[in-house]
C-alpha cells in the first residue's frame, strides 16, 4: 500500500501544492488531473523518489521514502513522459540492455512475453523506426522489467493513436486487476481517466476540472 501524508512542495516562494494526503491500495488505478503547471508531474516525481517534498511523508509497504529510498525504488516503475530509450538499438537490444541493469534477472523469452503483453511485436526493429505508439509501449515494457508494485506513468498515452491508447489502457487495467499493481498516472484525456481509474486526484484550483470530474461520479480528491 502507498500512503501519502500532508505532502507540500514549493519552488522558491511559489507554492506548487499543499497538504496532499491519499492512499493507494493494491489493484487501484489513480488518475492525476489538473491544468498545465498545477504540479501533476512534480507530484509524480516525488512519488517516484526523484524529488523530495518540503513537508509530509510517504511510505510504500511501510517503507519510508526518506530512510529507505533505495529499497523503495526497487518496488517502483516510473514511465517518463518522454521516450527514454536507445533510439539506435532494436526493441530486443533495449530490453536486454535495461534487463542487465535491472534488479531482477529475466530471460529473453520473458522479455519477449513482456513486449507481447503490451502488444509490441516488432522485436528486431530499431526504436527509431517504430511508430509513436510502439515507442510508448516499449517505454512502458522497459519500466516493468523488474516487476514493480507501484507504477507511476507521466502521460503514457500522449500523442499516440487510438488503438495503441486502448491497448495500453487495457494492459494497465489488467495489471491492476490481475496482478494487484498500484498505478498512478497523469493524463489530459478525461475519457481515458474516467474509464480506467478507480479514484481521481485533481490538483489545482481550476473549476473547469472540478465540474467535469463531478459529472463522472468517480471518487474524487481535490487539492
Amino acid at each position: 500500500m502507498l500512503s501519502v501524508e500532508s505532502l507540500s512542495k514549493s519552488y522558491g516562494k511559489k507554492e506548487i501544492f499543499k497538504d496532499i494526503s491519499f492512499s493507494v491500495q493494491p489493484g487501484n488505478i489513480i488518475g492525476l488531473v489538473g491544468e498545465n503547471g498545477a504540479g501533476k508531474s512534480t507530484l509524480l516525481s516525488i512519488l517516484a523518489t526523484l524529488q523530495s517534498p518540503e513537508k509530509g511523508s510517504i511510505a510504500l509497504f511501510e517503507l519510508d521514502y526518506k530512510s529507505k529510498k533505495r529499497e523503495v525504488r526497487k518496488h517502483i516503475a516510473f514511465v517518463p513522459q518522454d521516450i527514454a530509450l536507445w533510439e539506435d538499438l532494436t526493441v530486443e537490444e533495449n530490453m536486454m540492455f535495461f534487463e542487465k541493469l535491472s534488479w531482477k534477472k529475466k530471460g529473453k523469452e520473458e522479455l519477449k512475453q513482456l513486449c507481447s503483453n503490451v502488444k509490441l511485436d516488432r522485436w528486431n526493429e530499431r526504436v527509431k523506426t517504430l511508430s509513436g505508439g510502439m515507442k510508448r509501449k516499449l517505454n512502458l515494457a522497459v519500466s516493468l522489467i523488474h516487476d514493480p508494485e507501484l507504477l507511476l506513468l507521466d502521460e503514457p498515452t500522449a500523442g499516440i493513436d487510438l488503438k495503441s491508447r486502448k491497448e495500453i489502457g487495457n494492459y494497465l487495467k489488467k495489471l491492476a486487476l490481475e496482478n494487484g499493481k498500484m498505478i498512478i498516472y497523469t493524463s489530459h484525456d478525461m475519457d481515458e481517466i474516467t474509464n480506467l481509474c478507480d479514484q481521481i486526484i485533481c490538483i489545482g484550483e481550476d473549476p473547469f476540472y472540478q465540474e467535469i470530474l463531478t459529472e463522472t461520479g468517480k471518487n474524487i480528491l481535490s487539492f
Binding site: 526523484l50 537490444e93 536486454m96 540492455f97 542487465k100
Partner: protein
C-alpha cells in the same frame, strides 16, 4: 561489472567498425608513418659508388664513416663498374680510395689519395666530395699532429707511439665535438649528434595519435549522457555515475590491453624496447588519457563540438609535446608548457604524472558532488 560489460557489448555491436578503426588507428598509423618515412628517406639517399682498393685500417675506417652518412647510400663497386654506372647515371658519383692510402697519410702526403668519377648529372657530387675531403683531412691532420707530438716529446721520459696519439686525438675530438645539433624530440635525450637523423619518435607519435583516438572513442560519455535516460537508472541496480565509472574502467582495461599489444608490435616491427617498466608507464599513461578524455566528455553536450575540440586538443598536444615536432625552442622559452603537456611524463619515462592526480581528484569530486536526484 559483468552486466555493465554486457550492456557495453550491446552498444559496441552497433558501432564495431568505427570502434575497431579508432582502436587500431594509433598503432597502425604509427607503424605506417614510420615505415613510409623510412622508405622515403632511404629512397632519397644519394647513390655513391665507393671503390676500396686496399684493406688497411685507415682506408676501412674512411669507408665505414662514409657508409654511415645518412644521406648517402654507398654502393660497393669496382673501378670499371663505377665508371660505367656513373656514365649511365645509376650512381651520382664514385670515389676510389686508392691503393697506398694509409701509407701516404702516414707519410704526410696529401695528394692523389682519392680519385673520383662524376658526370654532368652528378648533382650531389660537390657536397659528397667536400665531405670526403674533410674526412681525409681529419686523418691527415691527426697523423701530422701525431708526428709533431712525437718530435716535441723526443728526449722526454714519456714516449707515445703514433697510434696512441691518434687514438687520444680521436677521443679529444669526440669529447669536444663542436658541431652538435639540439634539434631533438621529446624523448629524454638532450641532443643527438648530427649524423643520427631520426625523423620520428615512435612512442611520441603513437601518444599523439592515441590521444586523438582516445578522445574520439570517449564520445560515448556524451552520447550516453541523456538526461531523459537518467530517470531510468534511478530504478536500477546502478546509478548513472556508477554506470559511467564502471564503463570508464572497462574502457581502461580494454585500451590497456591494446596498448600492451602495441608495445609488442613496436618491439617486433620497430625494434622498440619491451620491458616491465614500459608496461607500467603505459598503464599510467592510459589511465591519464582515459580520465582526461572522460572529464572532457563530461563538459560537452553537443557531439560535433566535442569532435572539433578533440582535434584541436590533439593538435595542441602534438605541438607542445615535442613528440611530432621538435619543441626545444618552445619549451626553453616557455617552461610552463612542459607542465601543461600531458605526455611529458610518459615520453620522459617518469612514473609520476601530475595530470593523473588532478584527473582522479576531479572525478572523485564529480562522483560525490551535490545531491544526484536520479541516483
Amino acid at each position: 561489472m559483468i552486466d555493465i560489460l554486457k550492456t557495453r557489448l550491446i552498444h559496441w555491436k552497433k558501432q564495431w567498425m568505427s570502434l575497431l578503426f579508432w582502436l587500431a588507428f594509433p598503432t597502425i598509423g604509427t607503424i605506417l608513418i614510420i615505415y613510409t618515412t623510412t622508405a622515403i628517406q632511404q629512397d632519397s639517399q644519394v647513390p655513391v659508388g665507393i671503390v676500396l682498393e686496399e684493406n688497411t685500417p685507415l682506408a676501412s675506417e674512411l669507408y665505414h664513416t662514409i657508409q654511415q652518412t645518412p644521406l648517402i647510400r654507398v654502393v660497393d663497386v669496382t673501378e670499371a663498374e663505377a665508371k660505367r654506372k656513373v656514365e649511365t647515371h645509376e650512381l651520382d658519383s664514385a670515389f676510389i680510395i686508392q691503393e697506398g692510402y694509409e701509407e701516404k697519410i702516414q707519410k704526410g702526403n696529401r695528394n692523389w689519395l682519392i680519385k673520383s668519377y662524376t658526370s654532368d648529372l652528378s648533382f650531389a657530387y660537390t657536397p659528397v666530395k667536400e665531405m670526403i675531403i674533410s674526412l681525409v683531412q681529419e686523418d691527415t691532420g691527426r697523423t701530422k699532429t701525431a708526428h709533431i707530438v712525437r718530435q716535441i716529446s723526443e728526449g722526454s721520459s714519456k714516449q707515445w707511439s703514433i697510434e696512441e696519439i691518434i687514438v687520444k686525438a680521436k677521443e679529444i675530438q669526440q669529447e669536444e665535438n663542436l658541431l652538435r645539433s639540439t634539434f631533438s624530440f621529446a624523448d629524454g635525450e638532450q641532443s643527438r649528434s648530427e649524423n643520427e637523423v631520426t625523423i620520428w619518435n615512435t612512442w611520441g607519435l603513437w601518444a599523439v595519435l592515441s590521444a586523438l583516438s582516445t578522445l574520439l572513442i570517449f564520445d560515448w560519455v556524451i552520447k550516453e549522457r541523456k538526461p531523459i535516460l537518467f530517470s531510468r537508472y534511478a530504478f536500477m541496480r546502478f546509478s548513472v555515475k556508477s554506470y559511467f565509472l564502471q564503463n570508464l574502467l572497462i574502457y581502461t582495461i580494454i585500451l590497456f590491453i591494446i596498448d600492451l599489444t602495441t608495445a609488442y608490435l613496436f618491439h617486433v616491427f620497430l625494434n622498440e624496447e619491451l620491458t616491465l617498466n614500459w608496461a607500467v608507464l603505459l598503464f599510467i599513461h592510459r589511465l591519464t588519457m582515459n580520465t582526461t578524455a572522460f572529464l572532457i566528455g563530461l563538459l560537452f553536450r553537443q557531439i560535433l563540438v566535442y569532435y572539433s575540440v578533440s582535434f584541436v586538443i590533439a593538435l595542441f598536444i602534438a605541438i607542445i609535446s615535442g613528440a611530432v615536432l621538435p619543441n626545444d625552442g618552445l619549451t626553453s622559452r616557455f617552461t610552463w608548457l612542459e607542465i601543461l603537456n600531458p605526455l611529458h611524463s610518459f615520453l620522459n619515462e617518469e612514473w609520476m604524472n601530475p595530470w593523473i592526480i588532478v584527473c582522479v581528484v576531479l572525478i572523485a569530486i564529480w562522483k560525490t558532488r551535490g545531491v544526484e536526484s536520479h541516483a
